[in-house]
Amino acid sequence: MSDPGLLLEGVSAAYGRTPVLRGIDLTVAPGELLVVLGPSGAGKSTVLRVVAGLEPVTAGRVHIAGRDVTTDRPGRRNVSMVFQSYALFPHLSVADNIAFGLEVRDTPRAVARQRARAAAESVGCAALLDRRPGQLSGGERQRVALARALVREPDVFLLDEPLSNLDLALRTEMRTELRALHDRLGATMVHVTHDQTEALVLADRIAVLRDGRIEQVDTPDAIWHRPASAFVARFVGSPAMNLLPASGPFTPSGSAPPGLAAAEELQIGFRPGAVTLRAADDEAGGSAAVVDRVEVVGEDAYAYLTLAGGPPVVARVPADRRPVRGAAVRAEVRWADVHVFHAGSGLRYSPS
């Protein structure tokens, strides 16, 4: 078996006395695009900075392409990074920015120029080579930063929320391009984001980070369909998954998973799309609820319900069949669409 592109073993890091990473174990296969997803303050960027060597580890080892680089300085790790702010040199032209890494490594100027041009062409910014960062739009700077990262053919690409400063349309476009670029290069990439859509669209695998620990590492499909914890379940998906006590008042229809021990403290979770709304006088079943408010998002509408004697629930309905505010309805969810979690630990419940 070939060495993993990137391997973190029990990595911890701290800012002063505040622990930021608490024992991260992570393996990224060569050519894989791993997205690190988490809320702000979870330590996502610190993962990248530790890999890059910009922050020291307090424990654990970092391996890049089979080499233990834990104590190597950043320049010796052969990684390149795209910063959230892009970190372009304002006094250098685009060409000089891209060629910077080559020139400080004493690549002949003509060669550096040529490779800078090739890198710029591969991300579609060859027309900008003579400009300065101050003359570029956000999207153009983004492309230049990407070109600078890939000109040196590093072992691992680290991308720190590179799309977060772009407007939505551009972000969607760059997301697609980034994925295409990755597939073309076959490079090992670690991409940090707090945007769950970005993670689902881009990633080969997603690592969900929470308070410096990895909550789950899995494919986007598995993250969506089998979230390992209530935290993952609620963080991925918008609006977030409904989470209710399993003991009621809301009971899914159909047959419960076998061995669901009623004695245990459990929570049930289901996505807004899993909820079926019926008229209050419909005999087919479901729990009685009142519509608090309705948000329409194009073809979909989200109805915020209050269950009789209980917690709020969000349901997704087609916009043309949305209920009105204050309407009495029946809400039904089938057990097949329900995730069960332990209330205390938040971990996924697996019937034994």
Binding site: G75, P90, V104
Partner: protein, 302 residues
């Protein structure tokens, strides 16, 4: 927001003390001085119109020529050295580390000392016999010679050594330049330096390709400022430490020349004419450097 007439009046009133001070203490004397440059005036009898006589005398005055040369040489050597010295200290002390706070205060301290006291201190430091500087230079040597068997510098009696001493004195009063550069360095974005670290840029490459170009506009401004002030830096040291000597007028700079003529020889008109030359020199230096900076900024679009 446009200030209404009331807040405008308030602004004017609050500026008044400064404006009056500027007018009475700076502008008025300056204008009078310029006018006096064309007169013969001994501070006792009323000034008499002299036309351009003062200026033609300046041209033929060998002492003035020496003072002019001394001032220009001083500016050419001391101004870049001062800014370099301040830049070095700022780059050394911009990080947070143990003792950096005290080190910054220490770098600032000589600038805070009153000028005369500072001059007297150097008079002791530079004393060829018992001054600490030459005592250090003499360590390891015999018969009052340095380790290399040479006579230690005669700071107060040798013309070249005395000029060097004045430049050395001026180096340590770069506190304001240091503070500005410290702030400028700390304002530079951190991620740009992290970027450079990821590319394994050496310290020299980082300085040459990143720090220096990014700080260049500030450095340019400070060079202009120092060049303007350099004609004054020399006054107290030359007056207190070297007394304009050693012969022949080795440390008589324009400022001291003006002072001597105005207040010791009571040739106020003549001193005013020399002052006018100083001002013209200053303006010329500012214009040249300002153009260079503007060109630099336009080039980098900073």
């Amino acid at each position: 927001m446009r200030p209404d007439s009331r807040s405008r009046r308030q602004l004017v009133m609050m500026l008044m003390p400064y404006l009056i001070g500027l007018l009475v203490l700076v502008l008025l004397p300056a204008v009078i001085t310029l006018a006096l440059a064309f007169t013969e005036y001994d501070l006792l009898r009323p000034p008499r119109w002299a036309g351009l006589a003062n200026f033609s005398e300046l041209i033929d005055d060998p002492i003035f020529r020496v003072a002019l040369t001394n001032s220009l040489v001083f500016a050419l050597v001391a101004v870049p050295l001062r800014v370099l010295f301040a830049l070095g200290l700022a780059l050394l002390l911009h990080r947070r580390a143990l003792g950096v706070g005290s080190a910054r205060s220490a770098a600032m301290l000589p600038t805070a000392v009153p000028e005369i006291a500072y001059g007297l201190l150097w008079l002791w430091l530079l004393n060829p016999l018992y001054g600490p500087i030459n005592q250090v230079l003499r360590t390891g040597g015999e018969n009052g010679l340095t380790m290399l068997g040479r006579t230690p510098p005669q700071w107060l009696t040798d013309p070249t050594d005395a000029r060097a001493a004045i430049i050395a004195m001026s180096l340590f009063t770069m506190g304001e330049t240091f503070v500005v550069l410290l702030a400028a360095r700390r304002a530079l974005p951190r991620d740009v330096y992290e970027m450079a670290a990821l590319e394994d840029a050496t310290g020299w490459d980082v300085f040459r390709r990143v720090t220096l170009p990014l700080m260049a506009p500030v450095l340019g401004l400070l060079l202009v400022r120092d060049a303007v002030q350099s004609l004054h830096f020399t006054f107290v040291p030359a007056l207190v430490v070297t007394d304009g000597g050693p012969p022949p007028y080795a440390t008589t700079y324009l400022s001291l020349f003006v002072y001597r003529n105005g207040f010791e020889y009571l040739r106020y008109g003549y001193a005013a004419a020399a002052t006018l030359v100083m001002i013209l020199l200053t303006v010329a230096a500012v214009v040249v450097q300002w153009r260079l900076i503007r060109r630099y900024r336009a080039f980098y679009r900073l």
